[in-house]
């Protein structure tokens, strides 16, 4: 089996072969193919920039892989500011000995994800480190997009009276990764929701530029993201538990493992907070898109408990939905 050797990160002929035969093959475009020290870009107006480093175990999981994730994750972050993502940079740190076929699968998947999202990888870097120095492969991507709304959405703009929408089922990605990592099998397999949201976001903002907040609830899940927004805007987010879309297999898996889907990562979801009068229109736009069929209005913004997220339970009781302290750990009993 062919494996990635330290030579491939040397900058010498092996590195060049890797670039030519692998990276350009799957990611090539007019910017990247020039292979200069930097990419010369043509960008207009205010830009949205975001960077993220992706480490995930396992690197291949139901519904995606680290390569697709590295594209979707950054594309989504850039889009949340009301921007059209255009360019990505990409840095790989690869563990010596990674099967070449795995690397090829990952890069091919990045190429497909980038084409789907309509972005180009314009510059990149590869390092190969001795075995054990990283776990298989780490990928950093930075994204740049052109902001196309006059007043970009921001976590600081949630206002009392706003509606809180989400574009579908939450918790899928977190549970899919955990199940795969731990070798757990469920009756109904759970797939990651990993997807680029920029096209749906663009349609939404073109129709409703009045959107106040867009944010993707990745690490820490829905609960953490809502707490961030409540804190930044100094408002209360009041969420109705029975309106949160959760697949039965995800809630089942979570209850078995002692986890809470509200804190599981998502990679193809976004929260949209906007004045209540636009909520129905926004839901219709979301539901007309494959990435938003199960969109729902899950709550409202209020001012009773600034900085807090209050959950109204199906019984009509209320409780806090706090941020997690650290990672979610399965319980004893």
């Amino acid at each position: 089996m062919e494996r990635v050797l330290l030579d491939y990160g040397s900058g010498g002929k092996a590195s060049h072969r890797l670039i030519g035969e692998l990276f350009l093959k799957y990611l090539g475009n007019a910017y990247l193919n020039r292979l200069d020290d930097a990419a010369l870009l043509d960008i207009h107006g205010p830009i949205s920039v975001s960077t993220d480093t992706f480490t995930v175990d396992p690197i291949f999981f139901p519904g995606g892989d680290i390569g697709a994730l590295a594209v979707h994750g950054t594309v989504n972050d850039v889009a949340m500011l009301g921007a059209r993502p255009r360019f990505l940079t990409c840095g790989f740190i690869i563990e010596e000995g990674l099967p070449m076929a795995d690397l090829e699968r990952i890069v091919a998947s990045m190429g497909q994800a980038a084409r789907d999202a309509g972005v180009m990888v314009v510059t990149g870097d590869t390092k190969v480190v001795p075995k054990g120095m990283v776990d298989k492969i780490f990928i950093n991507t930075t994204g740049i997009g052109e902001v196309f709304v006059p007043k970009p959405p921001s976590g600081h703009r949630a206002a009392p009276g706003d509606a809180i929408l989400v574009n579908g089922f939450i918790g899928d990605h977190g549970l899919a990764i955990l199940a795969q990592r731990e070798g757990l099998t469920f009756d109904a397999p759970v797939c990651s929701d990993c997807a680029s949201l920029n096209h749906l976001i663009a349609r939404l903002l073109e129709a409703i530029p009045e959107v106040h907040v867009l944010r993707d609830p990745t690490r820490g899940g829905l609960a953490t993201t809502l707490n961030e927004i409540a804190g930044q805007s100094q408002v209360e987010c009041r969420i109705f538990e029975d309106r949160i879309p959760v697949r039965p297999e995800v809630s089942g898996g979570c209850s078995f493992l002692g986890l809470d889907p509200l804190y599981l990562a998502n990679e193809g979801k976004f929260l949209c907070i906007l004045p209540e009068q636009y909520a129905q229109q926004a839901l219709e736009i979301m539901r007309s898109d494959p990435l938003g069929h199960h969109a729902a209005c899950i709550g409202i913004v209020g001012q009773d408990h600034p900085g807090k997220v209050v959950l109204q339970t199906p019984l009509g009781g209320t409780r806090l939905m706090d941020m997690l302290e650290g990672e979610q750990l399965p319980r004893i009993c």
Partner: protein, 360 residues
């Protein structure tokens, strides 16, 4: 509506709540002794809907919370002994002396693996034949039988590098200690569904017979809990105190005799230390002498040592229902989930953590 969904049905719950409201005279102070009940009562919103004269107290029902400082000190000692530690996840953050935890030990290089089942720990031992693998046996009667079965398997299959550090705790002796406490402010016990599925109902009879305290074995859905509360009200109004099994869809009165036989084959009762409470006679489980080769206390020649008490921490009073979490001077200030001082703030099922996390 599925059977399980009906136990969450808002209309049924509301109807039971109204009956409690109408029929309860005076104050009802009830205590649950199960972390799953603690979390369910808060998470479902039941707590926010209870009439003002129903007072909810969380007892020593979270296995992590009752794990004693001296025991955590031994976990950390083991972590430094070049053994692979296998543990359920929620022990990772429990602070021992000098606020060290298994998480900090792991960051310093200790090999700590989170497992979902004790059988995974046997696999770990088989995959690492040159290392000693220790499973941290913490929990109540619910988890002890599975760990007993693991030990039996290890012994039968000759997995010599596998051992268990058993700090299991038993619920009935703790209830004995609580009920005998003259300062106890509890009028009724909500008994743990999971533990009861193993031990049955008999071990609780003394609560009603000796102490006149009514008790109900209940499930974990909102309706289960509210029905149990209504049973307390009904018993009080009739002037009765009984131990009732209201979780018959899971709990047989005789318990799970096979699981109990497995537990008794491998473990025997011993005195145990409970965090915040102290020594309770006969409230722990240690390995029987036949299992000495798999007893981490003996394999690693460990001894429980006194460690200094945590200053200012009133977890003991919280676990006994003498004060509510927010009456502790440290609560929410020096003691938060980010920097827990006492055991009740550490675990996700701890009463202080639940109070901090869920109360609006």
């Amino acid at each position: 509506m599925s059977l399980l969904d009906s136990f969450k049905d808002p209309h049924l719950c509301q109807a039971v709540l109204e009956r409690i409201h109408a029929e309860l005279h005076g104050e009802l102070r009830f205590m649950e002794v199960c972390g799953t009940h603690t979390v369910s009562i808060f998470r479902s919103g039941v707590r926010s809907l209870l009439p003002e004269n129903v007072v909810h107290l969380s007892g020593p029902g979270c296995p992590v919370c009752v794990t004693h400082d001296s025991e955590v000190a031994l976990f950390l000692e083991l972590a430094g002994k070049n053994a692979i530690i296998a543990t359920f996840g929620d022990l990772m953050r429990v602070p021992g002396p000098e606020k060290r935890t298994l998480k900090t030990a792991q960051a310093e290089g200790a090999r700590v693996r989170i497992v979902y089942s004790p059988f995974e720990a046997i696999k770990l031992a088989q995959d690492n034949p040159n290392d000693k693998v220790v499973f941290l046996g913490v929990g109540f009667e619910t988890t002890a039988p599975a760990i007993a079965a693991t030990l039996k398997t290890a012994r039968e299959e000759g997995v010599h590098n596998f051992s268990v550090l058993s700090f299991h705790k038993l619920v009935p002796p703790a209830l004995h200690a609580l009920a005998a406490d003259p300062e106890l402010q509890v009028q009724a016990f909500l008994l743990p569904g999971h533990v009861s599925a193993i031990i049955g109902v008999e071990p609780y009879r003394f609560l009603a017979q000796q102490h006149g305290i009514p008790a109900v074995v209940a499930g974990f859905e909102p309706l289960d809990i509210l029905q149990a509360l209504h049973l307390f009200v009904t018993m009080r109004n009739k002037g009765q105190a009984e131990v009732i099994n209201a979780y018959t869809r899971v709990v047989a009165d005789a318990g799970n005799t096979k699981a109990m036989a497995m537990l008794n084959e491998v473990f025997m009762p011993a005195d145990a230390l409970w965090r915040g409470i102290g020594l309770i006679p006969g409230s722990g489980l240690v390995l029987r002498p036949e299992y000495a080769a798999h007893d981490a206390m003996q394999v690693f020649d460990l001894t429980l040592r006194d460690v200094p008490q945590i200053k200012g921490c009133q977890c003991g009073d919280v676990l006994k229902g003498k004060i509510s979490p927010d009456q502790c001077v440290l609560f929410g200030k020096a003691c938060t989930p980010a920097a827990p001082v006492g055991p009740c703030m550490v675990s996700t099922e701890g009463s202080c953590a639940a109070y901090f996390k869920y109360r609006v």
